[in-house]
């Protein structure tokens, strides 16, 4: 896959990388056991500090998306939950908060939003809605 980052954007570079990998995993572009570029390789490709890549990778390891095999590099790990149920909910709520405020300001009703969320969910994950 192709990684791209924008310096000076709203999102710090390390999070841009982490997001891209997480999204790729979510969309199935990266599958379990796939390797990601080495820290050094990716840093060179993106012209960024290796520590930034390392930080992104270690965040991904922490959130259970990547795993590291000593001497071989980083791989997409099996899905495992590293957070508790409450923590997961809290994280979700944060994002939904944003969503709600945006929806209100854009004059969408709750049902419209729900509908849209379902649609997009289906598109992204290629799963048939129930």
């Amino acid at each position: 896959m192709r990684y791209r980052i924008v310096a000076g954007s709203n999102v710090p570079i390390f999070r841009q990388i982490a997001d891209q990998i997480a999204r790729a995993v979510a969309t199935g572009e990266l599958k379990i056991g796939d390797s990601v570029p080495s820290v050094r390789q990716l840093a060179r490709d993106l012209v960024i500090n290796p520590n930034t890549v390392a930080k992104a990778y270690s965040d991904l390891v922490a959130s259970g998306i990547l795993e590291t095999q000593p001497g071989r590099g980083y791989f997409i790990s099996k899905r495992r939950q590293v957070f508790t149920k409450t923590e997961r909910l809290r994280r979700l709520d944060e994002t939904i908060d944003l969503l709600i405020s945006q929806s209100v300001s854009l004059d969408f009703s709750a049902s419209e939003v729900l509908e849209r969320v379902k649609e997009l969910f289906a598109q992204k994950l290629c799963v048939v809605p129930e």
Binding site: V39, R40, P50, A54, T68, G73, Y74
Partner: protein
């Protein structure tokens, strides 16, 4: 390092043409003044101009190489390399010295070769005359170091920035005694060693200035500048103070261009001393000033003797020739017939006498070379015998006033018609010789020491060449001469009379002059005046015979009227003169004393000297306190002020940077910003009060962790 050497050579060789052109222009100027300009022919004129040119070029070389490096970021680029600044300094000094020497010495060498080739046929010059110039060129390299210090010391241009050049000025001064070498050998050796020390000192201080560079005077530092730089600044301040003092002294001073004494007689035959001064009043033109003094016991008011007449021409206590006798130049010989410069006789090296004919265009041409008992033609350069270098006396014992200038005659005119070179009479220290070029004969007319001589004067300033008076140092003899020294053949005949002239001047007697008035064997008058080297003590002895009755008079001219004192009489001059640093006055006074001069002027300076020393001490103290020095330093600078004079104030200010204070939060008193501890309470600096917005990550990124991560990813 080789690449750096190449760079330096490339950088400085481009200035070579500038130096060459300067030096060639100087030599061209000297060669162009090929008229019988005695001064231009002399080694010291070349010396002075070479000094000037080499100082300019050395300064230029230093500034051109170092000043651009203080602009912008150039210094960072220079410094940041694996080559120490010391080495860069040394490479540059060597390369620049080479360029400097090539630029300065090649033209001088060419001049020496040129003079060797043309020999002495057109002018009394010799290749050896460039030697003092070479020496001064070597010493003038001090300006290069001065310029480096100027470029690298980050001071203000209107402050002490240019001062190193003043210090540089002191070094080539050491070359000056070489111009009077055979006499001042010891002085010369002493001065040379001082000059070399000064040069090394300047080199060391410019090196320090370059090494420390613009970082040097942080606005407030307790650390001093280096000892070398202190010495340099001290020298600069001394030179500056002397220059300023001399400048003001010369403004206030009426300079006396000439002082003559002559003797006149009243109708009764009483001699009077008549003093005549030509005064240049602050450069506004020449004025004549006359005063009369009674010589005899029966002193009466001069104004009541309106009929005092000057029977004699001026007795020469006038300045001796400015040309000091030296090793490098040929000596101009006083000859009986060359008073007006036609022809010109020059004592060369190895006892040769060169005779030049001057044509109407004032070009000189060698017509004969005379050796002791042989007259050769112009082509003969080799002397058959060389052991008699002092055969003929030199011109400096015969001031031009002796035979040429008439008393009270502003524009003396020639009283003798110009001669051909066929024959001439010449005075040597061991006698008077008649030289006949046509027959190639030298005849000794008088076998006696000759310290001074004179023809009898007759009224209105002309002289009678049939009567000759000769002073041999202890007595005056009068001779009846036959024939004419002007037209030859010339014979010195019988001795008319001899008078002894006892003198208490002893060996320090430097110059004397004889005046002689002869009417007939029973009526004549002779006056001899002589002085010591420094002109302070002057004495006149007069003998007159009226109807065979011979009277002797002797008088010492009051010291207040001596040339030296005349120059120093005004109070403004004294004040300005006494602001010369006491240490310099004491040194020069000591040297003068050791050389045999008396130093009466020092005493007249004394009261002003004390006042100015006190003032200097106070000012130095104030400056030292202003700079926030410790009590001991203040005290020593106060003492230094007494010695160094008014410049101490500036010296202190330029050596120590400005003291900057801030309030100490612990004791609320002022403290220096550069000290780690407060001077009053000993407190450290407190951390700055936080602004409340600091973001410090306590755990520094662990370097090992970073490396681990990278190594980890590399291995994939």
């Amino acid at each position: 390092m080789n690449a750096w050497v190449r760079k330096e050579i490339k950088d400085s060789i481009r200035w070579l043409p500038i130096g060459m052109v300067l030096m060639v222009a100087l030599i061209w100027y000297l060669l162009a003044s090929q008229s019988p300009n005695f001064f231009a022919w002399r080694a010291e004129s070349l010396f002075t101009l070479a000094w000037f040119v080499s100082a300019i070029f050395a300064t230029f070389l230093g500034l051109a190489n170092y000043l651009p490096e203080t602009w912008g970021s150039a210094r960072g680029f220079l410094v940041q390399r694996g080559l120490s600044l010391h080495r860069i300094f040394v490479i540059r000094a060597v390369v620049n010295l080479a360029v400097y020497l090539i630029a300065m010495l090649v033209p001088l060498g060419a001049l020496a070769v040129f003079r060797f080739v043309i020999g002495t046929t057109t002018a009394p010059v010799s290749p050896i005359q460039v030697v003092p110039s070479v020496v001064v060129v070597l010493f003038s390299f001090s300006f290069y170091f001065g310029a480096i210090a100027v470029a690298c010391r980050p001071c203000r241009w209107y402050g002490s920035r240019l001062f190193p050049l003043l210090a540089s000025l002191a070094v080539p001064l050491a070359a000056v005694p070489i111009l009077s070498l055979p006499k001042m050998l010891i002085v010369c050796v002493f001065a040379f060693s001082l000059g070399i020390i000064g040069m090394l000192l300047l080199a060391a201080s410019s090196r320090v200035a370059f090494l420390r560079g613009p970082s040097q005077p942080a606005p407030s530092r307790t650390r001093n500048i280096s000892l070398y730089e202190k010495c340099m600044m001290l020298a600069a301040v001394l030179v500056a103070t002397v220059l300023v003092a001399v400048f003001f002294a010369s403004i206030f001073n009426n300079s006396y261009s000439r002082v003559y004494h002559s003797v006149g007689f009243t109708k009764e035959g009483m001699p009077w001393l008549i003093e005549t001064r030509y005064i240049v009043k602050n450069g506004s033109g020449e004025q004549l000033h006359e005063a009369k003094f009674a010589i005899s016991e029966s002193s009466e008011d001069v104004d009541s003797k309106p009929d005092v007449q000057a029977l004699m021409q001026g007795i020469g206590f006038s300045y001796p020739w400015n040309y000091s006798e030296n090793f490098w130049d040929m000596k101009y010989v006083g000859s009986f017939t060359s008073a007006d410069g036609y022809p010109l006789h020059v004592m060369g090296f190895r006892g040769l006498l060169y005779v030049y004919q001057l044509d109407a265009l004032q070009h000189s041409r060698l017509i004969a070379v005379v050796v002791k008992e042989l007259v050769g033609d112009a082509g003969m350069q080799q002397a058959p015998f060389e052991q008699t270098p002092r055969l003929l006396t030199n011109g400096s014992n015969y001031p031009p006033v002796l035979t040429g200038l008439a008393f009270s005659d502003r524009n003396p005119s020639s009283t003798r018609k110009p001669l051909g070179a066929g024959s001439f009479t010449i005075a040597a220290t061991d006698g008077i010789y008649y030289v006949d070029l046509d027959t190639s004969k030298i005849k000794r007319l008088l076998d006696s020491n000759v310290r001074a001589y004179s023809y009898s004067s007759v009224a209105n300033g002309t002289s009678d060449s049939n009567k000759l008076a000769v002073w041999d140092g202890s007595s005056i003899s009068m001779f009846q001469c036959e024939g004419s020294a002007l037209n030859g053949p010339f014979q010195i005949g019988e001795r008319i009379t001899t008078l002894s002239t006892p003198t208490d001047f002893g060996s320090k007697l430097q110059s004397g002059d004889v005046q002689f008035d002869y009417r007939d064997p029973d009526n004549w008058a002779i006056a001899i005046g002589y002085s010591r080297r420094n002109m302070v003590k002057q004495k006149v002895e007069v003998a007159r015979s009226i109807q065979k009755e011979i009277q002797h008079y002797t008088t010492t001219i009051p010291e207040s009227l001596s040339v030296v004192n005349l120059n120093a009489m005004k109070r403004e001059v004294l004040i300005a003169g006494s602001s010369i640093p006491p240490i310099v006055l004491a040194t020069t006074g000591t040297i003068a004393y050791l050389l045999g001069d008396e130093i009466p002027e020092l005493f007249s300076y004394l009261r002003f000297l004390v006042a100015q020393a006190l003032l200097s001490g106070i000012m130095a103290t104030l400056a030292a306190r202003w700079r926030g020095l410790s009590a001991r330093q203040v005290a020593s600078w106060c003492a230094g002020g007494f010695l160094i004079g008014l410049g101490t104030w500036f010296l202190v200010l330029s050596i120590y940077p400005r003291a900057v204070y801030t309030k100490c939060p612990a004791c609320n008193r002022n403290r220096r910003i550069e000290g780690e501890k407060c001077e009053s309470c000993g407190a450290d600096w407190e951390p700055l009060t936080p602004l409340g917005i600091e973001v410090f990550e306590q755990k520094n990124l662990d370097a090992e962790a970073i490396e681990d991560r990278i190594v980890l990813s590399q291995s994939t």
